[in-house]
């Protein structure tokens, strides 16, 4: 309650600041939001099985209420974006968190634009998946649009009339740290480059990245407006090495003393995206994307994962199991959720979004389908946009056969009811 009161004061303060400094070269804007976030825990999957054995092991996903504020400021060559939120789960204490999305300083030198600090740098042409988003690697397909948290970086860019070149050194502060702890996935220090050339209705991009432990990757992307209603896009990336979840060998079915799933540096992989956008005269739209993510766990890894789940669940159901062993089995089942936290679950994915925008409303229905195990995610969304207020309602269901990965995620159904005020 105390945190909520502080947050409310900040929201009111933000509104006043925006009025007070508008004429002093300081440009402030932002939005505050109140949201209800219903969550329904899954009754299937390794976490549900773990909690059935030992309910105190972890908290299942819970409903919560959230009050959030995002404040953006620009003063001369400085840009800042700060986010803070207070979230109160049902029956639990409030939790307040804050982070700086952006805080950077920019300038120009000898025809090059430079930036240093924490900055959002989003690349690539896809919507549901972007293999060449090699700096930001922002979360996608979220229930509610949130500004991503930027990365510490140094950026140099040069712009022509129809071309551009960008060079980015991301996480330079970690360059002197030899350990891999805290430097996996999008936290790896890396040098990335993007070249852009426009050919009329076609945007062409080339990408290169060199990560300190994942080595080199090369990519390219195209976005082409093929007609009044059609846009086609494609993206391709080849990786020398990549980070991914891997189970320790010999972890087939016995409880272990440590989590067998660890993020490790793995070998070559490729990522491919093909997509299209269609927009009709009656404000209806269709987005279709198909992609292969060679850095996601393989079908064989998921088969082993399923076999280990079954073996652990079988052991946990043995009558007369000692409490210590039951606790060990529960812990091992909870560890089985580790690979579900990776950036991609299955390698092959199909995504379809249907939308209709009769002003001021926007309705969306989208589905993600994973052919390997027929897992599905369905999401329905409704948005109303006023002059200052925006109302959102979304509902997401993970579905599919009982053994599919998506059907075993810790959260089976989730939603958002949110009111956002821009200032």
């Amino acid at each position: 309650m105390h945190c909520a009161a502080i947050s409310m004061c900040l929201l009111l303060l933000a509104g006043n600041i925006s009025c007070a400094h508008a004429e002093e070269g300081l440009n402030l804007s932002g939005e505050d939001r109140f949201g209800l976030l219903p969550r329904h825990a899954n009754t299937r999957g390794p976490l549900a099985a773990a909690l059935a054995l030992q309910p105190s092991l972890a908290k299942p996903p819970q409903d919560s209420a959230q009050l959030a504020l995002e404040l953006r400021g620009r003063w001369q060559q400085w840009v800042a974006d700060v986010w803070m939120a207070s979230e109160r789960p049902r029956g639990g204490p409030s939790r307040t968190e804050a982070h700086v999305n952006e805080l950077n300083f920019s300038g120009e030198l000898a025809g090059w634009q430079w930036s240093t600090g924490k900055k959002i740098v989003s690349w690539d042409v896809g919507y549901a998946y972007r293999p060449n988003d090699v700096v930001q690697q922002e979360a996608r397909r979220s229930l509610l649009d949130n500004t991503p948290e930027g990365k510490p970086l140094l950026q140099l860019e040069r712009f022509g009339a129809e071309d551009a070149l960008s060079l980015v050194l991301v996480h330079p502060q970690r360059l002197g740290n030899d350990g891999l702890e805290g430097a996996r996935f999008d936290r790896e220090p890396a040098l990335a480059a993007r070249a852009y050339q426009r050919f009329g209705a076609l945007d062409a991009y080339g990408f290169a990245r060199w990560g300190r432990h994942t080595g080199a990757s090369l990519g390219m992307a195209l976005a082409w407006v093929a007609g009044d209603e059609w846009e086609l896009h494609a993206s391709l990336r080849a990786l020398q090495r990549h980070d991914g979840w891997q189970a320790a060998p010999g972890s087939a079915g016995t409880p272990l003393a440590a989590n067998p799933w660890q993020v490790q540096t793995q070998g070559r992989a490729s990522q491919v995206l093909l997509g299209l956008n269609w927009t009709g005269a009656q404000r209806q739209g269709l987005l279709f994307e198909a992609w292969h993510d060679g850095s996601a766990p393989s079908a064989g890894q998921w088969r082993d994962w399923t076999a280990r789940n079954s073996a652990l669940i079988g052991q946990g159901r043995q009558p007369g199991l000692p409490a210590s062993l039951q606790s060990a089995v529960a812990g091992n089942l909870a560890w089985q959720t580790s690979p579900m936290a990776g950036p991609g679950l299955q390698r092959d994915n199909l995504f379809l979004r249907l939308s209709w925008q009769p002003e001021p409303w926007q309705l969306t229905l989208d589905g993600l389908y994973q052919p390997a195990d027929h897992g599905r995610i369905w999401t329905a969304g409704l948005q109303w946009q006023g002059d200052r207020w925006r109302l959102n309602a979304s509902w997401r269901v993970q579905a599919g056969p009982a053994r599919s990965v998506l059907a075993q995620l810790p959260t089976q159904r989730s939603g958002v009811l949110a009111a956002t005020r821009a200032f």
Binding site: F159, W224, E229, T279, Q357
Partner: protein, 256 residues
């Protein structure tokens, strides 16, 4: 009475003959340039607009502010200024369009149909250059109602056809005042030949117009709403070339 009828018939006959003759003599490109000057007057412009959408009950439903940098060679940059859309930009380079959202900071290629979904296309209409983007022919001399309910007056009816596919409206039926060639009204047709919007123009001095101050757009496609485009400020301004590069705009630079 008989005399008056004879006179009317004579005037009618003269008018009927005069229209085709006028059509032959009139220089349509010059007419369009003159008509453009009432809304702009320069190749490179900064135009600040306030767009108000009015519902069927006459109440304002939505207000949006835009700054449009309309540059030579069919290049435009629309900056959204209202709190609900702050930071969004639409870049239009000839027939090619990009949308930039503040939360994503990457330029997204959009189709002409996607451009029409947003209010930015209304800003686009506000700076549309008829003389550069359309060829036209005189349909004839007609009678047009005056703004504010004054007496009808003679006007020139032009039929315009887009010279490039990127413009929002492929055909425009345009009516200009016969004496000063100021735009009076326009019917805007989309690619499918459907009538999308009907425009009327409001001037600073109705008796001796020098500038369009407002444009009223009646939607004819879906919700039949009325949109009022108010020109808040207009000034010649050439923006740096880099501002018209979508990758530069993704830097979220200050564009004041």
């Amino acid at each position: 009475m008989k005399h008056s009828l004879t006179m009317l018939a004579l005037i009618g006959l003269l008018t009927w003959h005069a229209s085709p003759q006028a059509a032959e003599a009139i220089d349509v490109p010059a007419l369009l340039k003159t008509a453009d000057r009432y809304r702009g007057g320069s190749d490179n412009l900064q135009v600040d607009t306030l767009i108000t959408q009015i519902g069927q009950d006459g109440l304002a439903e939505k207000e949006r502010r835009y700054t449009v940098f309309a540059q030579a060679q069919h290049k435009s940059l629309v900056l959204m200024k209202s709190p609900a859309e702050a930071g969004q930009k639409v870049l239009m380079l000839g027939d090619d369009f990009w949308l930039l959202m503040p939360g994503s900071q990457r330029p997204m290629r959009i189709t002409p149909s996607q451009k029409l979904l947003g209010d930015a296309s209304t800003g686009d209409i506000a700076t549309l250059s008829w003389s550069e983007d359309y060829t036209g022919a005189l349909v004839g001399v007609e009678r047009c109602a005056s703004e504010g309910g004054g007496p009808e007056r003679a006007c020139l009816h032009l039929s315009l056809q887009a010279t490039r596919k990127g413009v929002s409206y492929q055909r425009i039926e345009l009516w200009l005042g016969q004496a000063r060639h100021e735009p009076l009204k326009a019917d805007l047709y989309v690619q499918s030949e459907k009538l999308a919007k009907q425009a009327r123009f409001i001037f600073d001095h109705p008796g001796a117009p020098t500038q369009v101050t407002e444009m009223l757009l009646q939607d004819q496609l879906s919700q039949h709403k009325l949109t009022r485009v108010k020109y808040l400020a207009r000034a010649p301004r050439q923006v740096p070339e880099s501002w018209l590069n979508p990758m530069f705009l993704a830097r979220n630079p200050s564009l004041d």
